[in-house]
């Protein structure tokens, strides 16, 4: 009878210890996941801002004005014979 009690007790204690361990490990993982998720969210927000900035910076109207200011040339049209066809592609 005593052995049975002891075995049950040991089993329960081991179970409790493992639950305690698992719970703490899980909690640490949850914290890590939270940090990563926040990081991803921040990066996404940064990316969205960068997209807007890129949209503004690569706006053809802006580039054209910059080209006129700094390159002192208007847009040059190419004629067909100035383009070459790469047959390999």
């Amino acid at each position: 009878m005593f052995r049975k009690y002891l075995a049950t007790l040991v089993f329960l204690l081991l179970g409790l210890a493992s639950i305690h361990f698992l719970k703490n490990e899980t909690r640490e993982l949850e914290v890590k996941i939270e940090k990563k998720t926040k990081n991803i969210s921040d990066l996404k927000e940064d990316l969205e801002i960068q997209k807007v900035e890129f949209g503004y910076l690569s706006n053809p109207q802006r580039i054209s004005e910059l080209a006129k200011t700094y390159l002192s040339k208007d847009y040059i049209s190419l004629f067909p014979n100035q383009l070459a066809l790469d047959e390999k592609k």
Partner: protein, 560 residues
């Protein structure tokens, strides 16, 4: 047997009789109670261990998303996007000395009207000082360290390409609801939360749009026009590559000065398009096999009557007395066109225009569309419709109909969405389409002995085909037509297998003696000229992504 009266719980003190151990019932009961309590605690611990609610840490951040999806062009260039912005407000309850705040605001934001702030301060609890703060403004306010000045975060829609796509994209209101353009037409899809990170992709091309917009703006200035419009369509898919309507406005500027005449001339404006309709008249008759391109009409006069109404030839001379079908188009003969309608049959001509979708509501994904207000067909308006008078339509429907004429005969629904596949239906045979392309080429070809009205659009290497149209505008004040005109040039390229259709519309152009040394204002002198300028600029960009056009270049280069 002596009755055990021992109350001691110590196990060794329990009575032993022979080999049997008699366990005290009270001991058992107490031990059982402890075991039960122990198990209850254990089960509770196990339960707590598995309780998910206790595992999860309190969220330290809010998930990031905007209310509306991005809109991008066919190359992924950003056209519309939501972003966060801050408004600067003054909280009256936290103000200690209003004069000090006024001074700080005046020093840092000299553009703000202080008198307005003073009057608002008397009547409101919260005063909006400045909307949409720039990062510099934001840091200025932070450095002020004034507790009564607060930021309010909100979402706004921005359009990085400014006015380049204003008529197509439309606008949103302060609550981020689409109120015009594709923002309104696709409001539900744009607000779809399950796809917030997937942009809406349009078939438009920003670089092409910029080039066309630039040339058209220059054209409006050169020809002192009220406005202009252009559509570039993929002839084989119906996809719109570029669509410009002038005047336009920067959609980022809200509640600023109002510009008149700003409606979309591509999808909303209904116009009588003039002689560009002659192409349809001839195509119908050739497809019905009542004429060929070499059929000759002789004894053509300078005026015919429909009942008591006279129909005049445009700039009649003796050379317009006898014309082949090709010459009817190249010399843009009204009387010759009427003869073709007579030969084809009035009803056949009417049915063909209806099959071409000229009078249908455009299928394009925009709310600002108009449908032709054609009334009943009569004999006279059937004749005049042959050269584009007495019937009106939108530029987008004209472009779609021209695409069908040049692409082998398939009428395709036009679309500005990259993934949308429009319905197709055959309206003329491949052979008719091929003949029509030859006739339209003759109108533009500079080498043609008969000078066609579209020759200003003949840009080397692109083999442009097309037809001009000069139409008098209906009078706004009285019955009949005014002296003002509306010019159109409907073109396609390259000749043998047209992949692109380009239509140009110029509203009330004037003569341009600074360019031509004369003041003629027909479509050949402005719309066709502008189309040539545009094709020269966009051609290389289109060719880089178009192997067939590149091969056409290569063959042309070898031939020349």
């Amino acid at each position: 047997m002596k009755k055990n009266k021992q109350l001691n719980l110590y196990f060794n003190d329990q009575p032993i009789s022979g080999n049997k151990i008699y366990v005290d019932n009270r001991n058992n009961a107490i031990i059982s109670i402890f075991i039960i309590i122990f198990f209850v605690i254990c089960f509770r611990l196990v339960f707590l261990g598995f309780d998910k609610n206790n595992f999860v840490e309190a969220k330290t951040h809010e998930s990031f998303f905007y209310e509306r999806r991005d809109i991008v062009d066919s190359k992924g260039t950003l056209l519309a996007k939501n972003t966060n912005t801050f408004d600067l407000i003054l909280r009256k309850s936290k103000v200690k000395k209003f004069e000090n705040i006024l001074l700080k605001v005046k020093l840092n934001f000299p553009e703000i009207d202080i008198n307005n702030l003073k009057s608002d301060y008397q009547s409101k609890k919260t005063i909006v000082i400045k909307k949409n703060l720039s990062p510099l403004d934001y840091s200025k306010v932070i450095n002020l360290g004034e507790p009564s000045l607060e930021f309010v975060k909100r979402e706004i829609r921005i359009y990085p390409q400014k006015n380049l796509f204003s008529h197509i994209l439309g606008k949103v209101d302060t609550d981020n609801n689409g109120i015009s353009g594709i923002e309104m037409y696709m409001d539900n899809e744009i607000r779809d939360k399950s796809n917030l990170y997937v942009p809406i992709q349009l078939s438009l091309n920003t670089n092409i749009q910029f080039l066309i917009h630039g040339e058209l703006t220059r054209g409006v200035k050169d020809f002192s026009a009220l406005g202009a419009a252009a559509i570039l369509m993929d002839a084989n898919t119906g996809k719109i590559i570029s669509m410009v309507s002038l005047p336009d406005d920067d959609n980022n500027r809200r509640n600023k000065k109002k510009i008149t005449n700003i409606f979309s001339k591509t999808t909303k404006g209904l116009y009588e398009m003039g002689s560009v309709f002659k192409t349809f008249t001839i195509a119908s008759a050739i497809d019905n096999k009542v004429i060929t391109k070499d059929t000759v009409f002789s004894d053509l006069r300078n005026r015919v009557y429909c009942g008591k109404f006279p129909i005049d030839e445009y700039r009649w001379d003796k050379s317009k007395k006898t014309l082949s079908v090709e010459q009817v188009l190249v010399k843009s003969s009204n009387i010759g066109t009427i003869e073709i309608i007579k030969k084809n049959g009035l009803e056949n001509h009417q049915i063909f225009l209806e099959r071409l979708g000229i009078f249908e509501k455009p299928t394009i994904e925009l709310p600002e569309v108009s449908q032709s207000n054609k009334n009943r067909w009569g004999k006279c308006n059937t004749f005049t419709s042959g050269f584009g008078h007495g019937v009106n339509t939108t530029l987008i429907q004209l472009t779609r109909a021209y695409a069908a004429i040049v692409n082998g005969g398939m009428l395709i629904d036009s679309s500005i969405l990259v993934n949308e596949n429009g319905k197709k239906k055959r309206v003329i045979s491949k052979e008719t389409s091929s003949v029509m392309n030859d006739i339209l080429r003759a109108n533009v070809d500079r080498k043609n002995k008969i000078e066609g009205s579209g020759r200003k659009a003949d840009i080397y290497g692109y083999d442009v085909i097309g037809k001009t149209g000069t139409a008098q505008k209906p009078s706004k004040t009285e019955k009949g037509y005014s002296k003002e005109i509306l010019n159109v040039f409907a073109s396609a390229f390259p000749h043998k297998k047209p992949n692109y259709v380009l239509t140009i519309l110029i509203d009330e152009p004037k003569g341009a003696p600074q360019i031509w040394k004369h003041s003629r204002r027909e479509a050949g002198w402005n719309a066709a000229y502008l189309a040539g300028k545009i094709i020269q600029k966009i051609g290389p960009s289109l060719a880089i992504n178009d192997l067939e056009l590149m091969k056409q270049y290569a063959s042309n280069t070898k031939n020349n």
